[in-house]
Each structure stands twice: as C-alpha cells, then as structure tokens.
Subunit: 340 residues, 2 copies
DNA sequence: CTGAAAGCGCTTACAG
DNA sequence: CTGAAAGCGCTTACAG
C-alpha cells in the first residue's frame, strides 16, 4: 500500500506538501498540486486511517449503539440505522455499529480507545446507565429518545407527549369519552423505554384532563395476538367508542381482525394510531395517525452530533420534533357500536 | 486520556512490558502483572485504537456493505446486520457499516485506508462490480449471495437453487401440474440480485423437468398489491392447483387475500413458499415453506471472514446452506379449485 | 522475566 | 509557496 512518502517522492515534493494538498490547509501552486494529484492517482494512494487518527485524534467515525430488543419491531430500527449511515457520510463520517449485547462496555470500549469521535444512542431508557458512561467518557454524544433525568446530553426524538395529546384531543373533540388504548408489549415497558412510557403516561394524563376514560391493554409481539386481546377489551368495555393504538406489530393484523369481527371504521369504532411513516409504505394501515419519521429524527441526530464534535462547548440541547397528524378518515363523531 | 506510558510509570515498568501484559505475548511475573492491572484500573486505561492499528496494520474492524434497496423487505436485512455485529464481537471485531449509496467508492475507501481488516458484502448481484474492487484491493472479503462468475471470493448463502427444487419436488410429488409462481418485485430482478434470479431460474428449470407448467407473476412492494395480481393470475389460469411464493412483502397480506376470495388452503389451492424464519415470528404465515435463516448465514459469513483475515491463503470457498422445508399443511394432493 | 529503541504513516507547528 | 523534524501512542524485534 502506498504511503504519503511514496506520493511525495513520485511528485518530487515533501511529505508535508502532500499532506497540505490533501487537507487544503495551505495554498499550493497549481503546478505542484497537479503533480501531487497525478502521483496519488498513479499510486492509488489513500491515507492510512489509523495513522491519521493517531496524528489528529480524530477517527471520523461515529459510534451507533443499537438496541437488541427481540420484542421490538425491526423495520423502524433499520430505517434509523440506514439514515444515520447516509447522513454521517454526507458529513464525512463512517458509522461503527455496536449492539446492546455488550451492555455498557461497548460505550467504554469505543470511547476509551478513541475509536469514535462521538456516540449516538438508540432506544434510550428513562433511566439509562449508558448516559453516565457517556458523560464520564466526556465523548460527544446524542441520545435518540428522552430520558427522565435532567438533560445533560444532546437529545432528539419525536415529541411523543405532544403526539399523545394531539391524538387524545382529536378523539375528545369528536365526542369520545370511553377509549380503548392498545399499548406496546409489556416487555418494552419493562425495558423502561422512554418513548413507550412517555406516550403512555402522557395519553393517560391528558385523557383525564379531557374527561376521557382511557383503558389500556397491552398486545405482545407474537403474531396474531391482536384478535384475542381485542375481544377481551371490547367485551369488558362494550361502551368504548374509539381505539387508540401504539403498537406497530399489532397494527399489521388489526384491519383484518376488525373486519373479521364485523367492526367498521369509523362507523362502529373510531381508530387512531401512531406509527413510523415508512411503515405505511409497507403495509395497509388505513388509520388516522401521527406518523413518526425515523429518517427525520436520525438526520437531526447526526447533525447534532457532528455539531457537538466540532464544538464541544455549550449547553445540552433537547430537540423534539412536532408530531404530524395524518387524517385518513378512520375516526368520526361518537356513535356507538352495533353490538353496544 | 491515559496512555501506555502513564500505565508504565504508575506500575513502575517499561512500556513494552505493559504492552506484553496486554497482549499476553510473553510471560510476565505475577507480581508485575498485578501492578500493571492495578495501574490500568486506576487510570481507566484503554489502548488507543488508531495507534494500535498503525503499529499492527490491523484495525479489528470489519466493513459491512449494506444494500440500499427501497423495494427490499427490511426486517430480514436488519437480522443480517445485527447477527453480523454480534458474531463479529465474539471474534473481537467491530463492524463498520457502509451503505450502497456511495456505490463502489465505499469499498475503495475503507480498504484503501486500511480502516477495515476485511469486508462483507450483502445482497450480491449476479454481476457485481464490487467484486472487482474487492479483488483489486486484495482485502479479505466474504460475499453473502452468489454471483454468476467463477467464485474468486469466499461466498456464503442459503442454497436458493436447492430450495426451489425442493419446493417444486414437493408440489410435483403431490400431483400438481399447473402452478402459479408469485415472484419478487420486478425492480429486484432489474437490480440483478443473485438470490432473486437463482431461485427464479432454478424453479422454472426444475419445474420443466418435473413436468410442471410454472406460471410466474411479480408483485410489487406497495401494500395491498397481492389481491389484484392474484385475481389476474387466477383468472388467466383457472386450472392452476398450487401457488409458489417468493415475496416476503406480499406474504403478509396473502392469508387475508385468499380468505377474502373464499379460497381455502390446501383444499382449493396448495400454497408453498420461502421466507426468513424470523419473519414467521412476526407475522402469521401459515404456509409450508423453506425457512431461510439470516442469522445462520450471517454467522457463517463472519466466521469465514475472520478465518480469511487470519489466513489469507487458500482457495475461495463457496458455502451453501441446505434448505429446510417446514411442512405446515398448506399443501395437499391435487384437487381443483371450487371455481375451476 | 524485563527494557531501550525503532518504526508504523500521518499532521502540524516552526522556519525559511 | 515549500521543507525538515517532532510527535501522536502503540508494538515488536533486539538485547540482556
């Protein structure tokens, strides 16, 4: 593999001149520049990443901590990962993917060794031990997901609390007073996932203030659980007139489950939801919903991290993306189910 | 950040002794070892990755080229990515994720700079320009997916040809002679994806040799296309008695589409398929099928790559995982549709 | 069992 | 506009 010394020799200049030609950090005569470019071309030279990292204390790599949560619906995660990778490249960074499997050790490893210039954490918990390690490491970092504690690290996410409020308002304005609430699998709450709890808590609180009785029931991630859970919920609460759903996996089967039960939307039951926009491109989800954009969040997160790497000072930022409600006509004024 | 010099000073030994204690490459007295360990602990020392890479010409990172194919069903891809990351860590490697967006430049960049010790390529095309770049770079590499050309690079994949044959045999043995074949979206064939073509070609060839008329029709990845395409196919070929499916996206909607048309499986129509095993854990797919395991393929791929990094000599290996047919009772002896 | 020293391939003050 | 040299933090022959 050619080194900068080889390039220098072929071009008939010093190594420092080659280095400066590469970085553009000082002006080089056009003629010299051309000779260097030719040498680089003919030798197929690419700067050694390790040497450059050692000399500059910059690897141009960002670490991405991805969750390993078997219960979680994966298409959305993939969307985050791909967008992070794309956006990072646009800023000159590569992405090192580290899974949660190692636990917190992964963070210590990649920050302690200076392997990465910054770290991005997906699926942040309300109390997330990774935050401590990040702070102790002193590494630039961005959280995707909002923890409970005071925000000491840059954070981006959809505003799940505003999303819950807007969906509740939507139903309240239509006159609904008893609403079933299909939540994420309990395992995810047990994992203390920020977005799960924030949506949940906020929905319950806001429903109370709007005079809505909100009745939560969880649906696990096994295929085909929707029907059973729905039957119990409907049987126990025959007077419910609407259904609020925060459960990607269950959403796929819901249209069928409702149809099989002869329940029309919105005539018999108003249905509103929240799910990743990209999800709607894959499946038939004919419901009025807040569409979350993994791509938008990931893009913002990369920009924040890059900004933080380039300027480590300044207070932590919290950026919450405003929810967008897409009306698909699956909700209507209160009416009452045929069976009710 | 503490350096190896700091550790040496605190432990009262030379830097080379610390280095050897870390690598275990020569024996160190128990007492010295303990002092070094204590120093490392108290300083929170982690070796600088760039310096180590520069000194050893090894980064302990493998590059993973992931496809950016919007039409492709993502859950399976995520499974590959996660398993690669896990398995790599077990072998002491981190994973740098590079997307196809940069095209072939990504390969040149990460190999040329010695950023990675080896490269793994997902979604290999029949004629894949990345193979040339890999060979020219001389970097250890493993393909996931089988190209058309002579195998010059280690390759792993499910044996899609054997899978097609076993599904065709299964139907032929049951007496079916006219079989509809729901294929992947045309875009994926246009992308020249190896697994798409290998399954397709092999199914057609083997069907002919078994006296089956196999009638292919593609279904795009937009939600809800299955019904329409199925209607046309059934109308055009009323005498077809079975359906072979290679299309993950379409599979989700198929049970509903069939039910809506009053078609029972296997009474009216035998249905067999091929899909990722993990897919069956997310959705209801009640069909006899070859279950592909992204995890198994990814694991093998990492092992091959690690072996190749540690020993660059020896001929390229081709490893095809044998298909496993899971019988779910969705196929039966030929009978003829009600409507037929 | 341990140490002194060279070297990996860059970047960047410093000097001209 | 250009060069000589020091230094980044490791590893590894070489020597004892």
């Amino acid at each position: 593999m050619a080194t900068i010394g080889d390039v220098a020799r072929v071009a008939g200049v010093s190594r420092s001149t080659v280095s400066h030609a590469l970085s553009g950090k000082r002006s080089i005569s056009t003629e010299t520049k051309a000779r260097i470019a030719a040498a680089i071309e003919s030798l197929g030279y690419t700067a050694n990443a390790g040497a450059r990292a050692l000399a500059t204390s910059r690897s141009n790599i960002i670490g991405l901590m991805v969750p390993f949560i078997p219960e979680e619906f994966e298409p959305a995660t993939m969307q985050y990962v791909l967008t992070v990778a794309h956006t990072a490249r646009e800023h000159g960074y590569d992405v090192l993917m580290v899974t949660d499997r190692e636990g917190v050790g992964g963070i210590d490893r990649i920050t302690g060794s200076n392997l990465v210039d910054g770290v991005m954490v997906l699926d942040v918990r309300r109390h997330d031990s990774r935050i401590d390690h990040l702070r102790r490491a002193g590494s630039p970092a961005v959280l995707i997901g909002v923890p409970s504690d005071e925000p000491l690290i840059d954070t981006v996410d959809l505003d799940f609390e505003a999303a819950a409020r807007s969906l509740i308002d939507h139903l309240a304005d239509l006159g609904h007073r008893r609403v079933l609430f299909m939540t994420l699998p309990e395992v995810l709450f047990a994992q203390d996932l920020g977005y799960a709890w924030r949506f949940y808590d906020s929905a319950l609180t806001h429903a109370r203030s709007r005079g809505i009785a909100l009745i939560p029931f969880a649906v696990s991630s096994e295929p085909n659980q929707v029907g059973h859970e729905l039957d119990s919920a409907l049987a126990e609460h025959p007077s419910a007139t609407a259904l609020l759903i925060h459960n990607d996996g269950a959403l796929v089967d819901l249209p069928v489950a409702l149809e099989a039960r002869g329940i029309s939307t919105p005539e018999d039951l108003s249905v509103v939801s929240i799910f990743p926009d990209q999800f709607g491109r894959m499946f038939r989800v004919p419901y009025t919903a807040v569409e979350t954009s993994a791509a938008a969040v990931a893009e913002r997160a990369v920009r924040m991290l890059v900004a933080r790497i380039e300027d480590r000072d300044g207070p932590a930022r919290l950026e919450l993306l405003a929810p967008i409600l897409v009306d698909r006509g699956s909700s209507g004024p209160i009416s009452g189910r045929k069976s009710g």
